[in-house]
């Protein structure tokens, strides 16, 4: 046997092993461990952190030292395994229809998962009764936004601030603005000074300082905070404290124009305007158990208005966006109600539906074929 064939046979062996059920078994076993571990992890740390550590990661450190493959890596290996298996299956023309459909469906599902993971956008829209909204806010992502008003138009510029750190510089070219980040915290607490400060920083709420605090279980509970310096082309730079919970944004003048600046949850503009007309909550009679939530809304786009009710299991779908009844808020002692919608934008939305259909069909097909074959065989044996 010469070296060449030895090499090819070794390559073939590796190729075969890549597509083998052994790899699948190990991959599935890893996935099972990760799923179980990630589920238990949620009890202490919440879903968001569990996702970050186990399900959205390629690697993580178990117990702080041992590197462990994350779900992304395991799924990638399984996908490779699946592709090789399918190629080998097709190449050898040894097709079992059921198995082929099952595994093609699984491949589609993994691909759909990847698309959703990479491209889907998820945000929230909270409206008071009577209020309208045309942009949803992210649950966990923040941005530094600067805008000025020209007549009825708002000219908004924004930077994603998730990875901001002290020393970063943000340039808003159109306005000729330069912002220098002095401090940035993903979760901050703000303090007001009891005594009037000389040289007080810009802050709509008279804040005097920020302090970092531990990240919350739920990303929605984190309140970002930043201290920035606004560099003026002429004159001394102005220092500003931006806090995610500021109800009124901070304003300043620059170049003869009034600007507003805010650190806020990242906005995702909607292609339509939603107005909350009425939020309804029904309880099971004589109990504190909720039976039904619904929001009556008016959706206006292209100058046309339509009314609709968004309720549990009945979302609003329009132009690639989907709005779901997610939660609500009430002020004790008043009639005021707020309704929160989860806003989704996902190109890969239909993929899992198709994949589910394929895999289920394939499984059922394979099962029935096997049962019939077995019944025939055992029938033949007894005859």
């Amino acid at each position: 046997m010469n070296d060449e064939t030895h090499k090819t046979s070794r390559a073939a062996a590796i190729w075969a092993y890549l597509g083998s059920a052994q790899i699948t078994t190990y991959g599935l076993a890893f996935l099972m461990v990760l799923t179980f571990w990630g589920t238990l992890y949620q009890v202490q740390n919440g879903l968001y952190l569990a996702k970050e550590r186990f399900f959205d990661s390629w690697f993580f450190l178990a117990a702080g030292v041992v590197p462990f493959p994350g779900t992304q890596l395991v799924l990638a290996v399984l996908m490779l395994n699946l592709v090789v298996y399918l190629i080998r299956l097709l190449a050898r023309k040894k097709l079992t229809f059921g198995l082929l459909v099952i595994h093609l469906g699984l491949l589609l599902m993994l691909g759909g998962g990847a698309i959703t993971h990479l491209f889907a956008r998820e945000s929230q829209l909270t409206l008071a009764e009577g209020e309208s909204g045309s942009a949803s806010a992210s649950y966990g992502d923040w941005e530094v936004a600067v805008w000025s008003r020209e007549g009825d138009m708002l000219d908004v510029m924004a930077y994603n601030s998730n990875a901001l750190k002290a020393g970063d510089v943000l340039r808003f070219e159109d306005a000729g603005l330069t912002l220098r980040v002095e401090e940035y915290y993903r979760n901050a607490r703000a303090f007001q000074s009891t005594t009037p400060l000389t040289n007080a920083p810009l802050s709509s709420h008279n804040l005097s300082s920020l302090r970092s605090t531990k990240l919350a279980k739920e990303p929605g509970e984190n309140i970002a905070g930043a201290v920035i310096t606004i560099e003026q082309q002429d004159g001394a730079p102005a220092r500003a404290i931006l806090f995610g919970e500021d109800e009124v944004p901070t304003t300043f003048a620059h170049d003869g124009k009034d600007y507003t600046i805010a650190l806020r949850r990242m906005r995702d503009p909607l292609p339509f305007v939603v107005t909350l007309q009425d939020f309804r909550k029904e309880m099971h009679p004589g109990t504190g158990i909720a039976r039904h939530f619904s929001s009556r809304v008016t959706v206006s786009s292209d100058g046309v208005e339509r009314d609709m009710v968004i309720s549990m299991n009945k979302p609003l779908r329009d132009r690639g966006f989907t709005l779901y009844q997610a939660s609500y808020r009430e002020e004790p002692g008043s009639d005021a109600q707020w309704s929160t919608f989860a806003v989704m934008h996902n190109y890969g939305r239909m993929i899992p539906y198709i994949a589910t259909g394929m895999v289920s069909f394939g499984l059922a097909w394979h099962f029935i074929v096997m049962m019939v074959r077995r019944a025939r065989r055992s029938g033949g044996a007894s005859a």
């Binding site: 083998s20 059920a21 078994t25 589920t39 099971h284 009679p285 039904h292 899992p352 589910t356 499984l363």
Partner: protein
């Protein structure tokens, strides 16, 4: 031999028929049982209400072998004589110790027995209530549970006090009697009587209150005293059960108790008639007058039903009464028990006749079992699985049917055994859940979709059942391999059953998991979110897939698949019950306290079973294969 078996079978059936025959009593409770009541957000017959309360207090649905409705009637009409009823189940002796009642023994106690420690219990319970629910330790939970039961008991005892004559309303003053237009032949009145008669005097009483008390005559003082008593009573007796009167204002949906109705003030004719019918009912019960009691209860039930005609739930009151009376799942359980015994013998002796008897027993058991599931669906207007209790019943049903399918395929008694065991064991476990809550209770908002409940939840539950049945078959395989390692046909047949059931379980678990994703996408906008319950379902799918791929890669053989399917039961238990105990995620509803221990025991047993059987089988086999 055959005749002997037949006579045993007949004897068993006779025993069963006699198991739950009610004894005749002096009073007929059928009309009382029929009165509609609202509890926990749904309308139910008084009969169910009584059973629920009794279950809640004592963990049993009968008291002293008498139906719950009789116990409830005594409690509400004659509370003084109910205080010695031993209805309070105390699960933890530490509770008694803390109440200073160490000398009591047993598990169920009466109000009188517990009374000396009540003040202490109140203190302990309110301290326990300060903690978050998942922070409470088992003793604290028990303090709260027992205390809550005692207060519920006390409020039930007060719920009909408006209808019974009381010394506070004994009127002897002739002037007052004339003023109130009281009947001449009666001195003792109930709150309801006095409330009705005093209505006409409200203007007089107001005038009286405007004058200084010194200027009142003796008769006026008596009138005022009576009016204050009425006022004090109506202040005192509030927020009491039993919600029997629909208020028309809220679309017939809000039901209130007689006391609340009285507190609302003005009574229209209908409510007044209903309240007096209730009073007649109470007084006839106290006097032991059966005909009058039945008639009054009948008119209460009819009047309320006619007012709440629109209510869907009312249409199924009779069905629920029948369901309660038949107790179909209890009957099914007994029949599965006998089928189980027969199938054991059948497996050992391989007798065709015995196998047929076993199948007949299972078929007989399936009748009440199926009836139970269907009746529950009709009563609730929901698919058959809105809580853990219901899923157990359904999983049991699917396992039984799967067992029969295996039997149909293999015809060797294995499937029949599987059916009988799963029916018996799963229904017995379901009894533990029945105690905890109304098993036909309302569902929370997120589950409010019959379409998805009946697709996703039914599919995933069938998946659970498939894997559980595979696990049972796996047990059988391991035991056979241990006991008869050389009986290859039997082993092959069991292995085939394991394999087929596992495949069935995988198909439905996968479909159910993915349909869950579809539902999640429809209602929350994401197909997959790594929520604990989703993960649990995924674990089942992964575990089954691992077994199939490992088998295909020749990493394991039949023994491995069988052992794996037994371990699969643990995975199913985690997905089905375990994740609900974690208390996180979107699916963390359902009543689960006290289940954790049972779950751990089950997990330990399965692990031990595999850990003991597999090495032994493997060690014996090795010399042959090598």
């Amino acid at each position: 031999m055959n005749r002997f078996l037949l006579s045993i079978f007949a004897l068993i059936l006779a025993l069963f028929a006699g198991a739950r025959v009610a004894r005749a009593t002096d009073l007929d409770y059928t009309e009382l049982a029929r009165i509609p009541v609202q509890d926990g957000g749904r309308i139910m017959p008084m009969d169910s209400y009584a059973r629920l309360r009794l279950l809640q207090f004592s963990g049993r649905s009968t008291f002293g072998k008498r139906p719950a409705i009789e116990w409830l009637a005594r409690l509400v009409f004659d509370p003084a004589h109910s205080q010695t009823d031993t209805v309070f189940l105390v699960n933890n002796p530490e509770v008694l110790e803390a109440m200073g009642l160490d000398d009591l023994s047993g598990r169920r106690f009466s109000y009188d027995q517990l009374r000396p420690g009540l003040e202490k219990l109140r203190e302990l319970a309110s301290a326990a209530a300060q903690h978050e629910e998942n922070q409470r330790n088992p003793v604290e939970k028990e303090f709260l549970r027992v205390y809550h039961n005692i207060t519920t008991f006390a409020s039930l005892g007060a719920s009909f006090r408006f209808a019974v004559p009381h010394p506070d309303f004994t009127v002897t003053n002739a002037v007052l009697r004339a003023q109130l237009n009281l009947p001449a032949d009666q001195e003792n009145f109930s709150f309801l009587d006095m409330h009705t008669h005093a209505k006409s005097l409200s203007a007089d009483i107001q005038r009286l209150a405007a004058r200084p008390p010194e200027s009142w005559s003796a008769d006026e003082s008596d009138l005022f005293a009576l009016s204050s008593t009425l006022f004090n009573w109506s202040r005192y007796y509030r927020d009491l059960p039993i919600a029997m009167l629909p208020i028309p204002a809220h679309n017939e949906e809000q039901w209130i108790s007689p006391w609340d109705k009285l507190a609302f003030g003005a009574l229209d004719d209908t409510s007044s008639n209903e309240l007096f019918a209730m009073q007649n009912m109470a007084q006839a019960w106290l006097a032991g007058r059966n005909a009058e009691f039945k008639l009054a209860a009948h008119s209460v039930a009819r009047s309320i039903a006619s007012r709440a005609e629109e209510n869907r739930a009312l249409r199924h009151l009779n069905l629920e009464l029948t369901y309660n009376r038949i107790d179909p799942l209890y009957r099914a359980q007994i029949l599965y028990g006998f089928a189980f015994l027969l199938s054991l013998v059948a497996l050992l002796r391989t007798s065709t006749l015995l196998r047929r008897f076993t199948l007949a027993g299972i078929a007989l058991a399936l009748i009440p079992h199926t009836y139970g599931i269907v009746a529950r669906m009709m009563i609730m207007g929901r698919p058959p699985m809105t809580n853990l209790y219901a899923t157990f019943i359904f999983v049991a049903w699917v396992c039984v049917v799967l067992g029969l399918a295996v039997e149909w395929y293999q015809r060797n008694g294995l499937g029949a055994f599987l059916s009988a065991v799963s029916g018996l064991v799963l229904l017995m476990i379901s009894n533990r859940f029945e105690m905890q809550n109304d098993t036909m209770g309302v569902v929370i908002a997120v589950l409010d979709s019959n379409f998805w409940l009946s697709t996703h939840v039914v599919t995933i539950t069938i998946g659970y059942a498939g894997c559980i049945a595979a696990g049972l078959a796996g047990h059988i395989y391991l035991l056979q391999a241990l006991k008869y390692p050389d009986n290859h046909p039997a082993l092959r047949s069991s292995a085939r059953a394991v394999y087929g059931l596992l495949a069935f379980g995988l198909i439905f678990s996968f479909l159910g998991t993915m349909l869950g994703g579809v539902w999640a996408d429809q209602s929350w906008g994401r197909f997959w979110g790594w929520d604990p319950k989703e993960n649990g379902a995924l674990l089942i799918v992964l575990w089954c897939s691992i077994l199939f791929h490992a088998r295909w890669a020749a990493m394991i053989g039949n023994l491995g698949v069988a052992a794996g399917s037994v371990l699969g039961v643990i995975v199913v238990l985690f997905a089905w019950i375990g994740v609900n105990l974690l208390g996180v995620g979107l699916h963390s509803y359902g009543f689960t306290s006290g289940v954790a221990l049972g779950l751990w025991i089950a997990v330990a047993i399965e692990l031990l079973f595999v850990a003991i059987t597999v090495p032994v089988i493997y060690a014996r086999r090795r010399p042959i294969s090598s």
